[in-house]
């Protein structure tokens, strides 16, 4: 998962037979048709929107001719550049904070005897389930400059009238963005930690290093590739997030790229300029990928082979409580505090009054469930899109992963490369590409669920592919060969052997897609139509009207549904599927 480009390795070339003239009839075998079919799907999902994005950034909106004017318009203003540099600054700070949160927690939960490891794991998982914009609203309730609960307590205790903390600031923006995404760092780094065997650490211990020195000199360097990969993905997630900046950066007056993009999407609509403005995001991502490769190539990390060896946990002594305290601070900031105030606000007449019996009400829930014009449909839309995106993405990815791993078709690595490439496309940029390619006539998918489903499938295809690929790799081909010797075809082998063996892996991957897809905002924001709104967009509209209690209620309903689906999945999977390797 850490190095996207590995799958690009041109392994197939060695297996290619010597060139023989093949009549075209033979070329049109079912297997080749399947390849064409899959390639066609990926072209629709990935190549066409991205190509349209690049082309339209060079297209004159009026004449349709070639122009650089869009770039001039996109970068001709100082504040447009400021938004870009602000975004990079914000992204860098978010990465640092996410690593500060995710890496120590991952280490503590996988390699130490810290108490409450399962509790911390579940809380981190909670941070995954809670969408970033809900955490953002929670933090507005906590740290609004005048009525945030933290500031109210501070005012009461200190007698000061100045706020202690202000969420509408650069720091607030970074904090809320970081807590929404450090789950990924935790998962990636955790799995790397779990693959290290203890022999090298033992060696360090024998040579006299204490537990912390060993961790710093041996353990952490060994998981560096995972950390760098996680940092890269964190950065991408941070710069492309829409909800948190919409809530915080406008009042904080800290313009970022996604907010600037909405300006190009306002009247007069300038999709071409928006496309031009988002190209640098793609270039930055590509540059970072290159940098990652460069760093990782210079050293060998072969010890993270996942092979053999015993893994022992580090005995921390009294330090275990220090680490525990740190973990508790992180999970309080990320989950417990925002979730608590959010739930309280959902049951309150007015969130500023604080907790009292007379302030308790169910009316917010009644409003969002039965009175609000679009929330019912939006709930169904979000859940439906989550299910559709997860199912289609996993199915598609399974086919591709199987073909790639078994090297069934020539050029299969091209499929693999395409399947993981959306990783590097920020969600909001992807949405603009989809809009430019499919919303307008002749295809005219504007306002349909279809365009959103396609975009969501694309956005989450890399997760699906990575999961399926790892699954298929773990199955030895001899079982399928047995099927074939007994006369069964490939499909029989897939249906009766590979499928059942991978059920759990695929279900885990399905959940990993369903959860973010049901909450997706960054991709949805430009693609929703009047009758295809999703919960995230309705929540954003409620925030715009300042209806925070109702927003909290609707957000809670969404959370409950997602938790129910995840709980069902976990029951089926029989273990906490993504937090620990079995």
């Amino acid at each position: 998962m850490t190095s996207v480009s590995d799958t690009h390795a041109m392994g197939w070339s060695k297996d290619e037979p010597a060139k023989v003239r093949v009549p075209w009839r033979q070329r049109l075998q079912p297997a080749n048709l399947l390849w064409l079919f899959l390639a066609g799907i990926l072209a629709v999902l990935i190549i066409a929107p991205m190509w349209t994005l690049v082309v339209s950034s060079f297209t004159d909106a009026k004449t349709g001719g070639w122009t650089l004017q869009n770039y001039v318009e996109a970068y001709g203003k100082e504040r447009h550049i400021t938004a870009l540099t602000n975004t990079l600054k914000m992204g860098a700070c978010v990465v640092i904070l996410k690593l500060m949160f995710g890496v120590p927690l991952a280490w503590a939960c996988t390699r130490t005897d810290m108490p409450g490891r399962n509790f911390v794991r579940y809380s981190v998982f909670g941070a995954f389930i809670m969408p970033p914009y809900l955490a953002g609203v929670g933090w507005i309730l906590l740290a609004g400059p005048n009525t945030g609960w933290i500031n109210k307590i501070w005012h009461a205790v200190s007698g000061s009238t100045e706020p202690l903390v202000n969420i509408f600031s650069f720091g607030g923006l970074v904090l809320v963005t970081a807590i929404g995404g450090f789950f990924l760092v935790f998962v990636l780094v955790s799995s790397a930690f779990e693959m290290i065997n203890s022999e090298m650490e033992d060696a360090a211990n024998i040579l006299g290093a204490g537990p912390f020195k060993t961790a710093m000199k041996v353990t952490f360097p060994l998981v560096m590739p995972a950390i760098i990969g996680a940092a890269l993905l964190s950065f991408l997630g941070a710069i492309a997030l829409y909800g948190v900046p919409a809530l915080i950066s406008i009042p904080a007056r800290y313009p970022v790229v996604v907010i600037q993009l909405t300006e190009f999407f306002s009247f007069p609509l300038r999709i071409e300029v928006a496309a031009a403005y988002s190209i640098p995001l793609l270039l930055i991502t590509a540059a970072l990928l290159g940098l990652q490769k460069l760093i990782l190539r210079r050293k060998g990390y072969v010890s993270v082979s996942g092979k053999g060896g015993e893994r022992r946990i580090v005995k921390l002594g009294r330090w275990r409580w220090v680490l525990f305290a740190y973990c508790m601070i992180v999970v309080s900031l990320a989950v417990i505090m925002p979730l608590f105030v959010l739930l309280l606000a959902a049951f309150s007449e007015s969130w500023t009054t604080g907790f009292s019996l007379s302030n308790l009400t169910l009316s917010n829930f009644h409003y969002v469930l039965f009175e609000h014009s679009s929330s019912q449909r939006a709930l169904m839309g979000s859940i439906g899109l989550g299910i559709a995106a997860a199912t289609v993405a996993i199915t598609l990815a399974l086919f591709i992963a199987y073909i790639v791993q078994r090297k069934l078709l020539p050029f299969s690595s091209v499929l693999a490369f395409l399947a993981v490439s959306p990783y590097v496309v920020p969600g909001i940029v992807l949405a603009i590409g989809f809009y430019a390619a499919y919303a307008l006539p002749p295809i005219a998918l504007y306002g349909t669920y279809m365009i959103m489903a396609l975009a969501f499938i694309t956005r989450f295809l890399p997760i699906a592919f990575t999961t399926s690929s790892a699954g298929v790799r773990s199955i030895h081909p001899e079982m399928e060969e047995a099927v074939r010797i007994l006369g069964g075809g490939r499909t029989t082998a897939l249906r009766h052997v590979v499928g059942p063996l991978l059920k759990r892996t695929l279900a885990g991957g399905w959940l990993l897609i369903f959860v973010p897809a049901a909450q997706e905002l960054s991709t949805a924001i430009f693609l929703v139509g009047p009758t295809t709104r999703v919960v995230s967009v309705v929540l954003l509209d409620l925030s715009e009207e300042g209806e925070l209690e109702k927003l909290a209620a609707l957000g809670s309903v969404l959370l409950i549904i997602i938790v129910a689906v995840v709980a069902l999945g976990m029951k089926y999977l029989g273990r906490d599927f993504m937090l620990r390797r079995s």
Binding site: P530, R533, E545
Partner: protein, 349 residues
């Protein structure tokens, strides 16, 4: 404009009102015809930035009650966002909204010029307050669907009446540092007009001064009102009906200042799209907006009713009893891009 609103004073014979409501149950021939056609179309999709979601949902509810079998979908966002969405649909040749209601009639003028609007003169126009009717398009491309003055709201728990600002320039007083909220002219339609008005009155200086007070900038103008209700901010730019109805119905600690230099009076406008997917339902709905049910609903919620003879809510000041200002449509269209850009430069967002 001043004497134009005399009739709103509320002393119109109650007789007229009762007659109006009694007539509500009966449908006219034209209405029946539209109703039958609308039923075949199934529903109407209403793009609205004129009111809050909750209020618009209430209007839709009344519509569905009167016209059983015709659905009503509200799509609510702030003014510029809804407008952008519609323009996007026009460009995609996939218009999904049947009609649109906004607080910025300049948007209507632009849509008319693009040939995007349908001409329609609802039956109920004849019962409309003549002065409000006159604010609409002369060729009936849009109707006036409301007037909600933009005024100053203050939190009564945190600010006494004496301390409260008296006019717009008082908002630049350093004592409101960190305590003011305004909207963003690039998101909200009425804030766009307000920005033009303030620039016309005091020059851009007003905004550089208020910037020093670090106002909280929301997207919708409703946001500022809610910030004052919650006490997060002490004073804000807010629409009058929201303040009055929250103060009365929810006992929220909020009160109105009618700025002595003039409240902004943006006439809200509603128009039917030329390519509306449900043209008859749209007409039925537009006519309904001017009907007695909505007039009463408006009045109850501290809005100025559109029909002649409907009394104002208790405690509501007639429109001609305080100073108001409007922006000419052509002026608004001409000046908006400039103030939006200046606003972004001054406030950095």
């Amino acid at each position: 404009m001043k004497h134009a609103f005399k009739y709103l004073a509320g002393f119109v014979p109650a007789l007229l009102l009762t007659a109006g409501i009694a007539g509500a149950a009966e449908m006219t021939a034209g209405e029946k015809q539209l109703y039958e056609a609308a039923r075949k179309e199934g529903s109407v999709t209403w793009y609205v930035s004129q009111t809050t979601t909750e209020f618009a949902d209430g209007m839709c509810g009344l519509f569905k009650k009167r016209y059983e079998g015709v659905g009503c979908n509200v799509v609510r966002a702030s003014g510029q966002v809804i407008f952008q969405r519609l323009v996007q649909e026009l460009q995609a040749k996939a218009v999904q909204g049947d009609l649109m209601s906004t607080n910025d009639d300049g948007q209507m003028a632009q849509l008319k010029e693009m040939g995007a609007l349908a001409q329609f003169a609802p039956e109920n126009l004849k019962d409309m307050v003549p002065e409000l009717r006159a604010l609409a398009d002369k060729e009936n491309y849009w109707i006036t669907s409301g007037v909600s003055p933009l005024v100053i709201a203050y939190n009564t728990k945190l600010v006494t009446e004496a301390e409260a600002p008296k006019n717009w320039t008082d908002l630049t007083d350093p004592k409101w540092k960190g305590q003011v909220a305004i909207g963003h002219p690039s998101f909200s339609g009425s804030v766009g007009l307000w920005t033009i008005m303030m620039n016309d009155l005091y020059g851009w200086d007003f905004f550089t001064k208020i910037e020093k007070n670090k106002p909280q900038i929301g997207r919708s103008v409703a946001d500022g009102h809610n910030l004052v209700v919650s006490g997060e901010r002490k004073v804000a730019l807010a629409p009058l009906p929201l303040i009055l109805s929250d103060a009365a119905a929810k006992r929220a600690p909020v009160a109105v200042v009618y700025p002595t230099d003039g409240a902004l009076l943006p006439p809200s406008a509603t128009a039917i799209m030329k390519d509306a997917p449900h043209p008859n339902a749209a007409r039925l709905f537009e006519n309904f907006l001017l009907g007695p049910e909505i007039a009463e609903y408006f009045s109850k919620d501290y809005r100025y009713p559109l029909r002649a003879g409907v009394p104002l809510a208790p405690g509501m000041k007639p429109l001609d009893s305080y100073k108001t200002k409007s922006i000419q449509i052509s002026d608004g269209i001409k000046k908006l891009p400039d103030v939006q850009s200046k606003f972004r430069d001054t406030f950095g967002i």
